[in-house]
Amino acid sequence: MIIIKPIHIFSTTVFIFLTLLFYFGQESKIVQTVALQSEQVAKRVSLDANSLPLAEPLFNYAGNQQEIDIYIKQLNQQLDTLDSRVKVKSISTVKPTKEMFLELFANYKTIYIVLIVDRNHIKYTYIIVLLFTLANALLYRKVFKKHIENKVRKSIASVETIKPKLVIDLYSKSLFIEGNTDIQSQLANKPLCFYLAMIEFSYAHPDLNLHLNKDVPTELLTIAEKYFHRLSVLGHTVRKRPNFSNSLEKTLSEIRAALDEILRQSPDLKAKLYPPKAHGEGSRSKLHSYGLKNLAESDYEIRGK
């Protein structure tokens, strides 16, 4: 089934309109040309009429048709070379019936000129109309495409207002972005519990800095212990209770490695949930904090809490 699209209606309308315009334009020019050229022919015949052996009823002149025919032939040859739309069919002093004619009124005679008029349009020039229609259709398509793109962009923008969030699943000990389970990463018990504790702690105390050269706050360690206990409740293999304050750097880099892949697509979330790295010289200064800043509740979800 053919689906009629707006572009088809547009193109058809433009094509019909332009064709009509082109047709009437050419028609009017042809009419004008024919009128002008007929006058030119009439002028020539008038000037030559004196030496033409035309019949003159008033003076009983019979005229000489052969001479007239030769004259017409010669005149038409000239008209041919000039690409005239008008040709002479006959010149006589007898009023022709049926046909259209030009009348030249002289003193003692009236000369009637019957013309053969070529009113044909130049057909191949109608390609112009086609080209213009095509150009307008292309422009219309472009305009239409932009319009659709804008629409799509708007709907995408409205989807994005529902912000993505990081999901930490205690059942499978995995991390992923909500709605995108293709990219997941697993974490071992210790970094998982520590990361969960970091999130919870940083959310509760957004103003507190966590420094590498200081001891891990006891509150944070308590939360980590709590999550470790939860993991064992959920049935995960637990060997022995880890010491959370030991080898802190290693734990952090494990967390970072797991997050790197997941948060690559969402830089906004990464800024909030990625434990900040120390940069440059003197990075181990007192100023560097590995705590998470500006966390919102909507940024993460912990399943199986």
Binding site: V14, L18, K29, Q32, R44, D48, Q74, T125, L139
Partner: protein, 308 residues
């Protein structure tokens, strides 16, 4: 190209902050305008300039191009004009005396009177009656050079010998010539009707423009009687001399007249030679029997006048 112009459009669109819709409107309006202009342009230029179709004047230059003297000739037909032109330009006497030769042709009587009566033509083919009417011999010293012999005029019919009776012509279709200077085809038959006390208005007369057309109409039975001369060469096959009735004899034929202001005997004899040759080349009996007005065999050349 289209892609480029569309991209250009979008550049404009960004610069002037026009909406796509406006651009589309503008494009349609521009297309409308362009299509109209092109529809006017595709039809070729309307103006045509027509030059005169038939040349009624031929000219040639003789060897002496420095000489500005012009020899003008007036003849009735184009064919004769062409023959005269080449013959005159080749002639040694004409070459010596004139720089140009101009030959005018045309059957109009009015033109002939202008050329003859005002002394424009140096050489003209005309009739004695016209010469007499204009007194061209006295005013411009026109002298006859050569003349076609005298002939007789007849009513010619196809089926019986025409009778010069009033009642005979009343129910007949009659063919005459349309030019009033023709004696055999116009003046003499009308004179005959007048003598028979016939009103021309009551006669069924068809006018034609030449003797040939008259004969064609008679053979085709479009007319019953024509008025013409008897051409022994051609008419004996088509018509019977028994079915002719004479209406006049000893009609002087056409003559070549030369305007001779000086006693230019060389020129007179040169022209006589040329016109005689041309007349004979036509080859009809009517034209063959020529009357020469000049004695050109032995020097001194002289005018001998009409034979009595």
């Amino acid at each position: 190209m289209a892609r480029l112009s569309i991209n250009l459009l979008f550049v404009l669109l960004k610069k002037y902050k026009l909406s796509l819709r406006t651009i589309l409107y503008l494009s349609v309006i521009a297309s409308t305008w362009l299509v109209w202009v092109l529809s006017q342009l595709v039809i070729a230029d309307t103006y045509i300039h027509l030059s005169p179709v038939q040349k009624h004047k031929f000219q040639c230059q003789t060897a002496s191009s420095e000489n500005h003297a012009v020899f003008r000739v007036k003849v009735p037909t184009k064919q004769l004009a062409e023959q005269m032109l080449s013959a005159l330009c080749k002639n040694s006497v004409v070459k010596r005396q004139f720089g140009h030769v101009e030959v005018f042709w045309g059957g109009s009587l009015a033109e002939q009177i202008e050329f003859f009566g005002k002394g424009i033509a140096d050489l003209i083919l005309s009739k004695d009656s016209i010469m007499q009417a204009l007194r061209a011999d006295a005013t411009h010293n026109y002298t006859p050079i050569i003349g076609y012999s005298s002939y007789s005029a007849f009513f010619i019919s196809n089926k019986e010998k025409p009778k010069l009776e009033k009642a005979y012509f009343l129910d007949k279709r009659i063919g005459l010539l349309d030019y009033p200077t023709s004696r055999s085809g116009h003046i003499l038959p009308k004179k005959a009707f007048k003598q028979l006390d016939l009103d021309i208005k009551n006669l069924d007369i068809t006018y034609v423009s030449s003797h040939t057309t008259l004969r064609d109409k008679l053979s085709n039975n479009e007319v019953d009687i024509i008025a013409s001369y008897w051409n022994e060469q051609t008419d004996d096959d088509k018509f019977s001399y028994n079915y002719t009735t004479p209406i006049g004899d000893n009609i002087t034929g056409s003559r070549w007249y030369l305007k001779l202001t000086e006693n230019n005997t060389d020129l007179a004899c040169a022209v006589q030679k040329i016109t005689k040759k041309i007349a004979q080349s036509v080859g009809s009996a009517y034209f063959e029997s020529l009357e020469e007005f000049w004695q050109c065999e032995n020097s001194p050349y002289k005018f001998i006048g009409e034979k009595k």
